[in-house]
C-alpha cells in the first residue's frame, strides 16, 4: 500500500459520490427518469443484499449466513422492530456456526 494509491482511491471514490449528487442538483429530472433512478437504487441495493447474503469470494457462502438472513427478512416482513431484525439475523448465523454449520 502506498500513499498515492490510497489517495487516488479516496479521490476516485469521492468523485463517484459527488458526481451523482451534484448532477441531480443541476438538472431538472422528469418524473419518468426519477422513477428509473429510484428503481435503479432499489436494484443495486437488492443485488447487493442478495450477493452479500449468499456469496463469498465468488462462491457459495455456506448455509449459516443465508439462514440468518432469511430469519431476519422473515422477521422484518412480520414487522418485528429493526433492532430485533439485526440481532435475530446475527444470532441465528452465530448459533448455526457454533453448532458446526459452515
Amino acid at each position: 500500500m502506498s500513499w498515492p494509491t490510497l489517495l487516488a482511491l479516496a479521490a476516485g471514490t469521492y468523485l463517484l459520490r459527488i458526481t451523482g449528487v451534484l448532477l441531480r442538483g443541476r438538472v431538472a429530472v422528469p418524473a419518468r427518469v426519477q422513477r428509473y433512478l429510484d428503481l435503479g437504487a432499489t436494484a443495486l441495493l437488492v443485488a447487493l443484499a442478495a450477493t452479500a447474503a449468499l456469496t463469498q469470494d465468488g462462491g457459495f457462502a455456506g448455509w449459516a449466513r443465508p439462514a440468518g438472513v432469511a430469519i431476519g427478512v422473515l422477521a422484518a416482513w412480520r414487522r418485528v422492530p429493526f433492532v430485533a431484525v439485526v440481532v435475530l439475523a446475527a444470532a441465528t448465523t452465530a448459533g448455526l456456526r457454533w453448532a458446526g454449520v459452515p
Binding site: 482511491l9 476516485g12 471514490t13 441531480r24 443485488a47 440468518g68 431476519g72 429493526f82 439485526v86 457454533w98
Partner: protein
C-alpha cells in the same frame, strides 16, 4: 435546513435504529482495523483508508490485494469498481442529501449503502433527509472508531465471524428495502436484479455483479409515473 433544525427533527425510533446499524458497522470496522494491521498496512494508512475512502467493501479489497502482494493498480481499479454503485446512489439521492452546495459536498461523503437504504425507508421530505444524515454520520463515527480500535487491538481481535455480523447486513438492508418493494414494478426489478447479480457472481470480479443487477431495470415496465400505488380501474370496483 440548518444543523439545529436537523437535530430537532430526529425521531427517537430512527435514532435507535441508526444506532443499531452503526453498532454492527463498528464491529466490522474492528475487523477491518485488525486485518489491515495484519496485512502490514501502517497505522496512519489504515486510518486514512477508513476516514477518506469510507467504503467498507473497497477498504477490505485493497487490504486483501496488498496482503496477497498484488499491484497498486489492481487495488485501485478493484476498489473503484466496487464503489461504482455510489454514482447511481448519488443520482437517486441528490435531492435528499441537501439543497445547498456545502451540504451536498459534505453529505456526499456519507453516501453509503446503509445511509441510502436507511433514508429511503423513511417518508420523503425532512424525515428522509434527517434519516440520511443521522445514519450516515453515526455510521462514519462508529466505523472509524471501530477501525481504530481494531488497529490498536491487532492480533487480540478474535475471528468476528462467530458473531454472525455478516448476516446482519444483508438482513438489515432487506428490512430497510421492504417498504420500497411495495410496488409491483419495484418487486420485479428487485427480483431481476438479485437473480442477475447472483448469476454473474462466479464469473465477474467483485463489484461488477452488483452493477449487472442494474439490468433488472429492463423488467420495470412503463409504470404509472405520478401514482405508483394507483389501482387500475378494473380493480376499483363499481
Amino acid at each position: 435546513m440548518d444543523m439545529r433544525s436537523l437535530y430537532r427533527t430526529i425521531d427517537r425510533d430512527d435514532l435507535r435504529d441508526a444506532l443499531a446499524l452503526a453498532a454492527a458497522l463498528a464491529i466490522v470496522g474492528v475487523s477491518f482495523g485488525a486485518l489491515s494491521g495484519a496485512a502490514g498496512v501502517p497505522m496512519p494508512m489504515t486510518l486514512a483508508l477508513s476516514l477518506l475512502v469510507f467504503a467498507g467493501g473497497s477498504q477490505f479489497l485493497v487490504v486483501a490485494v496488498v496482503a496477497a502482494g498484488g499491484s497498486p493498480v489492481t487495488a485501485l481499479v478493484g476498489g473503484l469498481l466496487l464503489n461504482a454503485r455510489l454514482l447511481p446512489y448519488g443520482l437517486a439521492m441528490g435531492g435528499v442529501v441537501g439543497d445547498r452546495l456545502p451540504a451536498r459536498l459534505l453529505g456526499a461523503h456519507i453516501l453509503i449503502d446503509e445511509s441510502v437504504a436507511f433514508a429511503r425507508a423513511r417518508a420523503e421530505g425532512d424525515r428522509r433527509r434527517t434519516a440520511f444524515w443521522l445514519s450516515g454520520s453515526l455510521a462514519f463515527v462508529f466505523w472509524n472508531c471501530g477501525a481504530a480500535l481494531g488497529m490498536v487491538a491487532g492480533a487480540a481481535v478474535p475471528d468476528l465471524d462467530v458473531l454472525g455480523v455478516d448476516a446482519a447486513f444483508p438482513a438489515a438492508l432487506m428490512a430497510l428495502l421492504l417498504p420500497s418493494l411495495r410496488g409491483a414494478d419495484a418487486r420485479r426489478v428487485g427480483l431481476g436484479a438479485a437473480a442477475l447479480a447472483l448469476l454473474a457472481t462466479p464469473w465477474l470480479p467483485a463489484g461488477l455483479p452488483v452493477l449487472v443487477g442494474l439490468a433488472g431495470l429492463i423488467v420495470a415496465g412503463p409504470g404509472g409515473v405520478a401514482t405508483p400505488d394507483a389501482r387500475p380501474p378494473a380493480e376499483a370496483g363499481p
